[in-house]
């Protein structure tokens, strides 16, 4: 009796330790997302706009798995706020533990051993969820499988199989290709719970039933290709860390009902206490792996993009200047922020420009299409911004940013009826309703447009002429200036391109236009180009009554003495000299200096 009581107490102790670990895991996850991984919320929330309309629902009703994604998109709205996002995403591993434990109890597996393997599963889910490609509906799909198994196993044995068969079409419709995972789960549960003679017929029936449902769905019910019926909405099956991790995790869940049994053959109950330690180690290993795979650059891009979407241009500039981005997108947003603040030719080289002119405007590939339109919007080429936003909507579906861009550009172009259609969609969302209401007012009363400084600015930048928009942005900007010479943003982008191409001579010949465009000083990098031009011994053309400032003249003297005479300067950490690195001169000579080092 004493010994039995001892084991029971030990079990309670062990169990309590596991519970503590479970909540520590939850806390660790919340902390991770709040302080390190919130970029995932921004990324996913911006790619899954949930609209409270029947039409939106209808879109998901037409294919198996659509409802699961619909549900996922509904939950993803919570990602709009980091706190809600962190609490939400962290709850999935905890729910996973609870569901596994319930299943283990039904399968009469040991509580503590069950807990042991449940926590390992939760660690796995915690790890998986840190991938940007792992959406909420993936987690929900996995959890629903376990919930369904629990519901089935709670039934009397004779009803279990029949219930699975009867409900399988509905489950397939709801969860799509996750049903394959459910078949695997049920297969495993049959092996774990059924007496040996019933196993084989059960398995055959399981296979035949699944195949029959698939054929009926493909041939008679849904207009979906077979490969989509077998894959949607699972992650794309490819050789990547995420894909391998996800499918390995599915396999783990499928076999998890057997693990306590296998474990008990090799480990005695008395050694359970050691399991607590091993589980703690696994949790720490999980955190280690998450730290290892943590992509600071990606996280940084999300932060920059978020600030860009919120039009916090000063914050973007400050962020990049504090921690320079080596990424094309990061540098693109930096240039965009400078242009929006009218500082492109003043501060272009305060940030890294590793991609030369490519970071001024992004290519129109699907990878960049969601970002490429901001450049066109910024310089007043609203037609191109509109076209790319529409392409983005066709390719990627409704997203907050492509719809917002469509609203603004249609208003600018005077197409209020079309703008209203997009406003109507945003109005029926949780997080963008207020934004939509603001623009709805403008649509109802177009004169209100003139009190919106952003729209007025973009309208003023719009060229009056018609031309074909091409993929050559230099051509586009020159054509814009032909129609509206008073467009400083397009002008400075043209100059920036020249500077990045190191064509300082061409820059100097543009200066004479500036006075007429309203400039009363020459932006710093253009001054630097002028001084380089003079340094080459070339005759200076007419500068249109604008002159180079004394500060820049002095800086050039310093630069000459520091850089052009000291080839080892690049290794120096001298602050004064570092300031001179933010110049066109340094960019111009950088390669030569690097080569010398």
């Amino acid at each position: 009796m004493i010994e039995t009581g001892g084991i029971t107490n030990r079990r309670i102790l062990v169990f309590n330790n596991y519970v503590a670990i479970k909540w520590m895991l939850y806390a660790a996850s919340v902390v991770y997302y709040l302080f390190f991984g919130s970029g995932l919320f921004f990324y996913q929330e911006n790619r899954s706009l949930f609209i409270f309309t029947y039409d939106y629902l209808q879109h998901f009703l037409s294919k198996p798995g659509g409802l699961l994604v619909y549900m996922g998109n509904f939950l993803t709205q919570g990602y709009y706020y980091n706190v809600i996002g962190a609490l939400l995403i962290s709850s999935f591993p905890v729910i996973l533990i609870s569901l596994l434990m319930k299943n283990f109890r039904l399968l009469s597996k040991s509580n503590s051993r069950g807990m042991h393997f449940s926590i390992i599963a939760a660690c796995g889910l915690f790890f998986l969820q840190t991938f940007y490609d792992h959406f909420i509906y993936h987690s929900v799909g996995l959890l629903l499988g376990l919930l369904w198994m629990y519901a089935l196993m709670s039934l009397k044995k004779k009803y279990q199989l029949i219930s699975f068969f009867v409900l399988f079409p509905a489950v397939y419709y709801f969860a799509g290709a996750f049903s394959l995972f459910y078949v695997g789960l049920y297969f495993s549960f049959i092996l774990a719970a059924s007496p040996k003679p019933q196993r084989l017929p059960g398995l055959i029936l399981l296979f035949v039933n699944s195949l029959a449902v698939f054929i009926v769905f493909k041939e008679f019910v849904f207009l979906q290709p077979g490969d989509k019926l077998l894959s949607f909405p699972l992650p794309v099956l490819k050789f990547s860390v995420f894909s391998i991790s996800f499918y390995s995790f599915c396999l783990y869940l499928i076999f998890v009902p057997h693990l306590p049994e296998i474990n008990s053959m090799v480990v005695s109950e008395k050694r359970n206490i050691k399991h607590v330690t091993s589980v703690s180690v696994i949790c720490l290993v999980t955190i280690f792996f998450i730290t290892l795979k943590f992509d600071k650059e990606q996280e940084d891009i999300m932060q920059i993009e978020k600030m860009g979407f919120q039009q916090k241009w000063d914050a973007v500039i400050e962020h990049i200047e504090k921690s320079p981005s080596a990424n094309l997108t990061g540098q693109y947003y930096y240039n965009l922020a400078l242009s929006e603040k009218g500082l492109l030719c003043d501060k272009l080289f305060f940030g890294s420009q590793d991609f030369k002119e490519k970071s001024l405007s992004l290519p129109h590939f699907s990878e960049y299409i969601n970002r490429a339109y901001y450049f066109y919007y910024c310089i007043g080429l609203s037609k191109a911004a509109n076209y790319l936003a529409f392409e983005s909507m066709v390719i990627n579906g409704y997203q907050p940013e492509n719809l917002k861009m469509l609203v603004k550009t249609e208003i600018i172009r005077g197409n209020l009826k079309i703008a209203e259609r997009f406003v109507h969609l945003l109005k029926q969302t949780l997080n963008y309703r207020n934004w939509a209401l603001k623009y709805e007012k403008i649509i109802r009363d177009p004169s209100a447009m003139y009190s919106d400084s952003e729209l007025v600015e973009k309208m003023e930048l719009t060229p009056g002429n018609d031309f074909f928009i091409t993929t050559d942005d230099n051509y586009n900007m020159n054509a814009m200036l032909w129609g509206n010479p008073n467009n400083p943003k397009a002008f400075e982008y043209i100059i920036a391109r020249m500077l990045l191409e190191k064509d300082f001579k061409a820059v100097v010949y543009q200066v004479k236009k500036m006075k007429g465009m309203g400039y009363n000083y020459i932006p710093r990098h253009i001054e630097e180009a002028i001084l380089l031009y003079m340094h080459e011994g070339l005759e200076l053309p007419y500068l249109g009554e604008l002159t180079v400032s004394n500060k820049t003249l002095k800086d050039f003297e310093n630069f000459q003495s520091a850089f052009l005479s000291d080839t080892n300067f690049i290794l120096s950490e001298d602050d004064t000299k570092n300031e001179l690195k933010n110049t066109f001169w340094y960019y111009f000579y950088k390669k030569e200096i690097k080569d010398l080092n």
Partner: protein
């Protein structure tokens, strides 16, 4: 009673409808908390609908009864709205004319985003005009998301048509009854795909234009897309012999023409099409203007005679596109715009009608301030369906107009929908609306299966000039 008609959407006041049209549901755009609509035939048949939100939907069975009793006359619509203060407003009634010439029971169109480069999801759909039944004929999600286009029927026949699929499942798919045949028509010296088709009325030939198409995007506020041909020529495909032949390359010495939008006369003795001199290396797209041309054709030998200008649009600085000939062969309806071929993207594009017996060209009263374009005739020649962007300037919608003579046409009405608000929500555009005499027997899975079969290659048989 108020001295004005209620504002309703779509605007069905004064339209002329066939005796077999689906319920003309609409939305009352008037302030009020409760609405009652009474639809009355001249002989006293009455249909009442109550609505809280202004959406008026008629019961199909009762609507048919009302129509039946209104043929040759009018349906009167009385609209009452109960205001928030409890008072009731009665609006001046509006009317719909009902004629006994029936419209073909189905309409077929392509649904796609009014797009630019990415096609996205697209499908060709058939819709009953007598009810709201709708089904997909082909969907590109079963064809690896490839572009599907240019569905063309032989004289409104749902059992005899073709369409093109581009990309990995490419081919021209010919449909006869419930059989789908996948063909490869780009053969021999063809440098571009077979594009715009027209079936010879006897069914043994199809003429295609083969176009090298360029798409560009305007910066200007009034225009979105510009689609034009660098070169295009006509080819005739013999269905029975599986042979494809150029119709002609040069019609006069030293002049190469762009030829497009073929259309057979209903007797099969003439081919109408649009033609312009092929642009030189440097050209201004705004100076490309197409005339309406025709050529005599001998169906026995399959040969053409000399070209003849039917309507010299260039002379008046206009350009013809998309001709369509009435089943009696007397009238040609076409789109006329300032230049080029992409009339649906030209705000100024309007529909005109040429009376071949008098040579008189008339502007049609069915036009609006926005683009009117692709049009086709019903099999009895009494109805014209056309695309119009009049609702928002971006998305084309199918409109139907009664035709008696160029001077006597009914006010057009938009294709009625079960949910009349659908046009404000839909982002897709309706493309190539065609009236057909019955239901198409094949469906998306038939096309998917056909796309798995190898393409049957047409034989190239040189020129016939």
């Amino acid at each position: 009673m108020l001295d004005r008609e209620p504002v309703i959407d779509p605007d069905y006041s004064g339209v002329t409808v066939p005796g077999n049209i689906a319920p003309m549901n609409f939305i009352i755009r008037e302030k009020g908390g409760h609405y009652i609509v009474k639809a009355l035939s001249a002989n006293g048949v009455q249909l009442s609908v109550k609505s809280k939100n202004g959406v008026v939907r008629f019961n199909l069975k009762l609507w048919r009864k009302l129509l039946k009793n209104s043929v040759g006359g009018k349906i009167k619509f009385e609209v009452y709205s109960k205001n928030t203060d409890g008072t009731v407003s009665q609006f001046k009634p509006f009317f719909m004319n009902v004629v006994d010439e029936l419209i073909d029971p189905f309409i077929c169109y392509r649904l796609l985003y009014p797009g630019f480069e990415a096609g996205g999801a697209m499908k060709i759909v058939q819709r009953s005009l007598e009810s709201f039944y709708e089904s997909s004929v082909v969907e590109n999600q079963l064809l690896e998301d490839n572009c599907i286009n240019c569905h063309s029927f032989r004289q409104n026949n749902p059992e005899h048509f073709l369409l093109h699929v581009r990309g990995s499942k490419k081919g021209t798919y010919f449909i006869e009854g419930n059989r789908v045949k996948r063909m490869e028509l780009r053969v021999g010296e063809m440098t571009s795909n077979a594009v715009y088709p027209s079936w010879h009325p006897f069914g043994q030939y199809v003429v295609f234009s083969s176009n090298k198409i360029v798409q560009a995007f305007h910066m200007g506020p009034d225009k979105r897309n510009e689609i034009y041909d660098l070169n295009s020529s006509l080819l005739i495909y013999s269905v029975y012999n599986n042979e494809i032949t150029p119709c002609s390359i040069m019609d006069t010495v030293n002049t190469v023409y762009n030829e497009t939008f073929p259309c057979w006369s209903p007797d099969g003795n003439h081919l109408y099409y649009c033609s312009t001199e092929q642009p030189k290396e440097k050209f201004d797209y705004k100076n490309i203007r197409y005339n309406l041309i025709r050529k005599p054709f001998d169906p026995g030998s399959g040969t053409f005679g000399q070209r003849e200008v039917v309507f010299d649009a260039n002379k008046i600085n206009k350009s013809v596109s998309l001709p369509s000939i009435s089943p009696d062969g007397r009238f040609v309806v076409f789109a006329l715009s300032d230049y080029g071929t992409s009339s649906i993207w030209h705000k100024n594009a309007d529909l005109y009608m040429l009376d071949l017996s008098t040579g008189k060209v008339s502007w049609l009263a069915l036009n609006s301030n926005e683009a009117e374009s692709y049009q086709s005739w019903s099999s009895n020649g009494k109805w014209i369906v056309f695309s119009s962007k009049r609702r928002d300037g971006l998305t084309a919608r199918p409109y139907i107009a009664y035709f008696d003579s160029p001077g006597n046409m009914g006010k057009p009405f938009i294709l009625p929908q079960k949910n009349p608000a659908v046009y404000d929500k839909m982002l897709e555009t309706f493309n190539i609306p065609e009236l057909i005499t019955g239901e198409i027997l094949v469906g998306p899975r038939d096309f998917a299966r056909a796309s798995e079969r190898p393409r049957l290659k047409a034989n190239w048989v040189g020129g016939k000039d």
